[in-house]
């Protein structure tokens, strides 16, 4: 081989190949194979356990039908094929967080396969294949004395998570950049939350992601050596870890060295991936059909019933909002970020608020307050109906934008009837031309310099005069009307 190629990595144009595996806990009341509560946040250690999820001798699993439905729902949302016949298998390995010494999972006949997820990124459409969506059970969690495994003298096991229904969504290696990887995850999480199967919590691990990353010379159609990355607890971590790994692999290849198939962990503090396990130490999981569970036959009726319960998905909903209500595509994207937000918007419109007004307020003022207080609109004291009442006052010209924003801030948490408050406090907009004319005259008199500047061509100078009128009316004046009156006077 030529020296130049080895010595100059930049000369070889590389392409990254990324495939993501997502584990998403299902929002079911009970665990996958027993009646224990599936939610464990806030529970005392080992509180939500029973002989089945502790793997005690003689206990047997019983399939949670709701978890199967959730997986079918997910598969449908991701355009997957759902075979008639599916079964569970055992994945065998020893670890203290795995009470039976095997995980009940699915191997060669998963609940669904061959789907795809499509999304837009920087004006391009990206389509990522979904290899399969299957159902399995989560493991328990280990707590090492002193928090660090290497120096721990003892470890405690909490089986509250053991047996929580877990869905594995395996993506095809169709992603080509860290940005695409991140966007894929954002979209996938959004869909799972839309269809009500997952709460999308990356920090607490109810939505987890591993990435398979390889690089190859651009134009090549063979795959490079694959590295699996684990321990990424946020979208940002995924993006950074994948970026890091792509650069690392290109650098290794550029230095003339070879890559090894291995598992690496993302270490946030070092902003680097670190080798955890090489292929030589890979497990042989000895998969075989789970003899404690009969294979499942999914009837067409069952699948169709689930399909019936599938809500409109975010992309379709955004497109419909644009088409139906004439709002901007960006606003539609923000408004459909979650199902609740989109529902709120549509309820505002249904309550008589013009769509653009509703969109503008929800995207800006309401989202700002919702983030500041960590209380979404539909849980706020004002509520969707209160906001609708307020925005109808804006639309009718009863109050101006400034007053409305102040009222929104005031009522957001505690609630109240905006119409009544406007009447009580006399906050109604002053839009009587006769009443405003006197104030406009006074303002012109008091702001001689600004008036002169405006007449001298400084357009912006007019705002000081308008401000004077607004101040005099405690912000209640119809700003548009004041503007018009001023211009009439000054040009007259």
């Amino acid at each position: 081989m030529t020296e130049t190629l080895r010595g100059a990595p930049a000369m070889v144009d590389h392409e990254a190949v990324i495939g993501l595996e997502v584990h998403a806990q299902l929002l079911t009341r009970s665990k996958m194979f027993c009646g224990c509560p599936a939610g464990y946040v806030g529970a005392a250690p080992n509180e939500n356990t029973c002989p089945v999820c502790l793997g005690l001798p003689g206990t047997l699993p019983v399939i949670n039908r709701r978890a199967v439905e959730h997986t079918v729902r997910t598969a449908l949302a991701l355009n997957c094929e759902i075979p008639h016949f599916t079964k569970f298998d055992r994945k065998n390995y020893f670890y203290p967080d795995l009470p039976k010494g095997y995980q009940i999972s699915q191997y060669d006949l998963p609940l669904s396969r061959n789907g795809h997820l499509e999304f837009s990124l920087d004006g391009r459409r990206v389509r990522c294949g979904i290899t399969r969506v299957h159902l399995e059970e989560d493991t328990g969690t280990l707590h090492h004395a002193g928090d660090v495994l290497q120096s721990a003298t003892s470890s405690l096991v909490d089986y509250n998570r053991s047996g929580v229904p877990l869905m594995e969504i395996v993506g095809e290696p169709d992603l080509r950049s860290a940005e695409e990887a991140r966007e894929y995850l954002v979209r996938l999480r959004q869909i799972l939350m839309y269809i009500g199967v997952n709460d999308g919590n990356l920090e607490e691990g109810s939505f987890r992601c591993d990435a398979n990353v390889s690089v190859r010379p651009r134009g090549s159609d063979t795959l490079g050596v694959k590295v699996e990355i684990k321990n990424m607890n946020s979208f940002r971590a995924v993006q950074r870890a994948v970026e890091y790994e792509i650069t690392r692999q290109i650098t290794v290849l550029g230095a003339g060295e070879t890559l090894h198939q291995e598992t690496r962990g993302w270490v946030e503090a070092r902003a680097a991936t670190v080798s955890q396990r090489s292929k030589e130490h890979a497990h042989d999981y000895r998969y075989f059909p789970e003899p404690d569970l009969a294979p499942m036959v999914l009837s067409v009726e069952m699948v169709e019933e689930v399909r019936h319960t599938l809500p409109e998905l975010p992309e379709a909903r955004a497109a419909r909002l644009v088409a139906e209500h004439g709002i901007g595509a960006d606003d539609a994207g923000v408004l459909t970020a979650t199902r609740e937000e989109a529902d709120s918007f549509e309820r505002l419109v249904a309550a008589g608020v013009p769509a653009r007004l509703a969109a503008n307020w929800q995207v800006n003022a309401v989202n700002g307050l919702s983030n500041a207080h960590h209380v979404p609109l539909w849980e706020s004291g004002l509520g969707i109906d209160g906001l609708a009442a307020l925005l109808r006052l804006v639309d009718a010209g009863t109050v101006n934008q400034t007053t409305a924003k102040e009222l929104l801030e005031e009522l957001y948490l505690g609630g109240g009837d905006p119409g009544a408050i406007v009447r009580e406090r006399g906050l109604g907009q002053v839009s009587d031309a006769a009443e405003l004319a006197a104030l406009v005259d006074a303002a012109i008199e008091a702001n001689a310099k600004a008036v002169a500047d405006f007449q001298g061509g400084k357009e912006g100078a007019l705002q000081a005069v308008v401000g004077h009128v607004m101040k005099a009316t405690k912000g209640r004046a119809d700003a548009k009307l004041v503007n018009r009156l001023l211009r009439e006077r000054l040009s007259g």
Binding site: L60, I63, P99, P291
Partner: protein
Amino acid sequence: MSAAPETLAECAAALRAGAVTAVELLERSRARIAALDPQVNAFLSRTDDLADRAAVEADRLLSAGTPGLPALCGVPVAVKDVLCVEGAETTAGSLILRGFRPPYTATAVQRLLDAGAVLVGKTNCDEFAMGSSNENSAYGPVRNPWDLGRVPGGSSGGSAAAVAARMVPLSLGTDTGGSIRQPAALCGVVGFKPTYGRVSRYGLIAFASSLDQVGPFALSVEDAATCFAAVAGHDPLDGTSSPTSVEDPLGGLREGVDGLRLGVPHEYFGEGLDPGVRAAVEGALEVLRSLGATLEEVSLPTTDAALSTYYVIAPAECSSNLARYDGIRFGMREDRGSLLETYLRTRDAGFGAEVKRRIMLGTYALSSGYYDAYYRKAQKVRTLIADEFSRVFERVDAIVSPTSPVPAFPLGAHSDPLSMYLLDVLTVPVNLAGLPGVSVPCGLVDGLPVGLQVVAPRFLDARALRIAHAYEQATGWRTLRPASVEAVAP
């Protein structure tokens, strides 16, 4: 001979007639255990408190003359130590579970208790039900009441011997490859393995999940049927238990065999069959013919593949089922600092040689690169075996054969594991096909019992019992008692 009630039917009648109380039956059972078990070693533990309470409660119901008394009200029973009983030590015959007290009761046991049975104790067995002689128990072998120098068969040797020695009239065992039928044959009692899925496996410590089935030992087919009726039926806690309704095994029990076609597979009368066993079974076939059954020779050509199929599938499942015995949450733990050392030491000290052998066999059969050659192929052969039975059952109503090719053999006679495995040849195919099979005493050879096996199509458990009952009623074998039983006054 004592007039004391021995069989379940006799006990139930005497209890209802007020001739005996449940407490008296329990005391009699305890007295026989005290007298005989030091030699037989059928029991691993006793459930005295549970038994005392159940007997008192049974007597209360009996003396109140409560209508609709449950079938087993006041009857002493024993269960194999692979069946969990809440709060009672349950070891599966293994050191690794010494001291393990499950917080739940197996469904089959619970149904016995619900039917009024008085649970006397837990019976000895091969470790995790792996064995054909009961010599693999970590707590010493069980000895055959017919000859204390011989094995009772296995793996449910304790349950078989306890009934044979009249310590209890009824017991539960489990059958994965013959573990009820073979010890029943060797101990001269009735043993019944129901259709797979008929009796719940919940609370049964698994050996091979796709093969394990719980069933009764009794002194008569009718008793076995009564017990089966009490424990059978769907259990929401066992996803493999059948939701189909159970045909009452007692209803048609006395309908006889007149007009039934019975298949005699010539492969089951081949090489390795003890001549005395052959003679006894052929005699039994003549009895059935005289009762009006038609005998027809049939062929089950995959029989010779069944054993190797079984010894791939059962170890494969066991290698996974036994992974949970890791010293982390219950049972024995040999703490050795590192996790790996703790695993290795615990499992090394806790498991016996046969269990380790099967875990290794199964692990190998499931390993990457060997799965297709062993496990997958075995599953295909299993399907062929089941299909073959189905085809034969198009022509005949049931299949009759010897249960075990040999009568009880001396302890230590089969130190080579392979020669021991070969003893399962006549029972294993029935498990692979999930069929019901009953073993009923059909004679003696050199003073040792011989068993006749009756196998019926899936879920026709009642038919297998009906045929066995007809045979039993036509012969006097069930009244024969082992010498050790005669030696001890009840």
